[in-house]
Symmetry: C2
Subunit: 355 residues, 2 copies
């Protein structure tokens, strides 16, 4: 039996979108592919309300964490770390042999604008990395307030991971001055995994031209040149995944972004009201994510057993990430899931736990 | 109307394999995914007759050209260039800021073992790059003879691109001492694009540990550590493409690798006999690829018009690559295509051209 996915990626993908992948292939150097790909980019620009350069690459979103470093940093980068994925970005910067400093707060806490200001005052950095929505802890960092600080440091590129929020949480990419906004298909887009997106500002593209050793696969300058010239990608794209993305973007447009954000906010409120009533939230009050909720396991239930029981009923949720495995648990409410489906899940959890 | 693909990637994918992608998703940190992924790796090891480490990454094959350089070369690499893809590897090495020398021969010619020997004698290199099957020219480089030379230079890693040949052309990975063997799903595997494979020797893994700035997404050491520990990939994999790969590997096993190689050889002979009769081969005699044939346009036909006419009948072939656009044309005979389908295509071409 299929378990409906209430995990923070991959999220549940509707059957018509899965089926779109089964369309026979076309060559990726044909006019038909150019139409498909430029159509996708145009739809993304419209839905995300940006004119920045957008590239869709065959990869997981992680590739753009690495790409952002290799394209935008010669030497010094400052990484905001408050969970597993922001810590990964910091480690990736080190693995790319860059000087990497950190702003660290405990898991579950948010990065505050004054922390960023203090650190940026103290040393000249080329870029700041921020995971806007920490999938591991259910924390939404206050990107709007951090963006205000960033405006005072126009030489510092603003690199933002919105992997588990873009399309579910409103991100004003240009207004916030985000230079790199990265995301991936298997989260709030409600698509199968395999496509990563990156929205790149002109400032980031200019900077990239000054950075050596950018490589090829994730070279923003090369990706943009190729797109401008041919409306295609330099390397063979995952065509069947693009069929699915094209169809899904139409469905998202039909829903309307406003409705989509509202639906996410309603699902988040429902889960978090429940979480506060029966458990407590792992995330700092006021900084709860709208796409994934992380609850402290205050009732000391066996999260593994709960998931086994849920599995028998056709649902899957997530344990706490890494070191939080049995100390917390996560329910994702993103993508195409509805409030009714969330209620159904919660009713089943209540039944299983007898609460 | 779908055009059956006789182009050198993506190749024609059978409907049952396309349909396998539409299977509902599972979490990539579940036992079910571990079983799927380790199953795929075991099947690949059996079919390719190797015990070397194999990783399957969400990407086009190009990523491993870059990964091979970033993992295996600190300073100096020697690149064999005899077509567009081998030239790409050389350029990627430069883009990764490595000292890159070349052995160049004209497009259509093969790299000879004595050229490699001469160059390796003259300078100390850390690695040699070779595209075994040049998709752009239809040339199969004599890898068996080059491998014999490489045995005299055990400190030089042997990096080989088999993107358009692996699973259609017999490559004895371990016997030939190939340290990096890279390929991708959309060629002789007859799968949709989006998955790249890399087969990595212990020697390459040891070398990688000494190379700084390997990054994360394509770090062979990290990929192997994660696989050894969890039987999974560090980043979210393209699960639906893996469903298709898993099913296709079973079908390949059922056909038998010997039969598969024989079928490819028969298709190649048929196309090349025809090519020699009505045109001439662009590839040097004796070095014709078994997966893709490149014909000189000696009859000065319009390749574009031929393809338009073929399109109306439900077939697609390729023009010459890049600068060869109208000077040559290519017919791919790889993946799951049969000799009967090749004959049908050739009959249609003969009819259209009136030959």
């Amino acid at each position: 039996m299929h378990k409906k996915l209430f995990i923070p990626g991959p999220t549940e993908v509707r059957q018509d979108i899965l089926d779109a992948q089964a369309t026979p292939l076309i060559g990726h150097r044909t006019k038909a592919f150019t139409e498909l790909y430029t159509g996708i980019i145009d739809k993304l620009k419209e839905l995300l309300e940006t004119n920045n350069f957008i590239t869709v690459l065959t990869a997981s979103g992680t590739i753009f964490m690495e790409g952002a470093i290799r394209n935008c940093v010669n030497n010094d980068v400052l990484c905001c770390v408050n969970g597993a994925f922001s810590d990964r970005w910091f480690k990736i910067a080190q693995k790319c042999d860059r000087n990497s400093d950190v702003i660290t707060v405990d898991w579950g806490k948010a990065i505050k604008p004054e922390m960023v200001d203090e650190k940026l005052k103290s040393k000249k950095y080329e870029a700041l990395t921020l995971v806007q929505n920490e999938t591991s802890t259910g924390v939404r960092n206050p990107i709007e307030d951090i963006a205000k600080v960033m405006k005072n440091y126009p030489d510092v590129l603003f690199l933002v991971d919105t992997v588990s929020s873009l399309m579910g949480d409103k991100i004003n990419i240009e207004e916030l001055g985000i230079d790199i906004c990265l995301a991936s298909s298997q989260k709030a887009f409600a698509l199968p995994p395999g496509l990563a997106l990156c929205i790149v500002s002109d400032k980031a593209l200019e900077k990239a031209k000054t950075v050596k050793g950018r490589g090829h696969y994730c070279d923003f300058v090369g990706l943009k040149d190729y797109f401008d010239k041919k409306g295609q990608t330099p390397s063979t794209p995952a065509i069947t995944l693009m069929y699915a993305m094209d169809k899904q973007l139409d469905k998202i447009k039909a829903e309307g972004m406003g409705n989509r954000f509202k639906r996410h906010a309603e699902m988040a409120k429902y889960v978090q009201d429940w979480g506060k009533k029966y458990f407590s939230m792992f995330s700092e009050p006021g900084y709860e994510s709208v796409t994934v909720s992380c609850m402290n396991n205050t009732r000391k239930i066996s999260v593994a057993d709960l998931n086994t029981e849920l599995g028998k009923r056709g649902y899957a949720i997530s344990n706490g990430y890494g070191k939080l495995k049995e100390l917390a648990f996560r329910i994702a409410h993103m993508g195409d899931l509805t409030l009714d489906e969330i209620k159904e899940l919660i009713n089943n959890i209540n039944e299983i736990l007898g609460i």
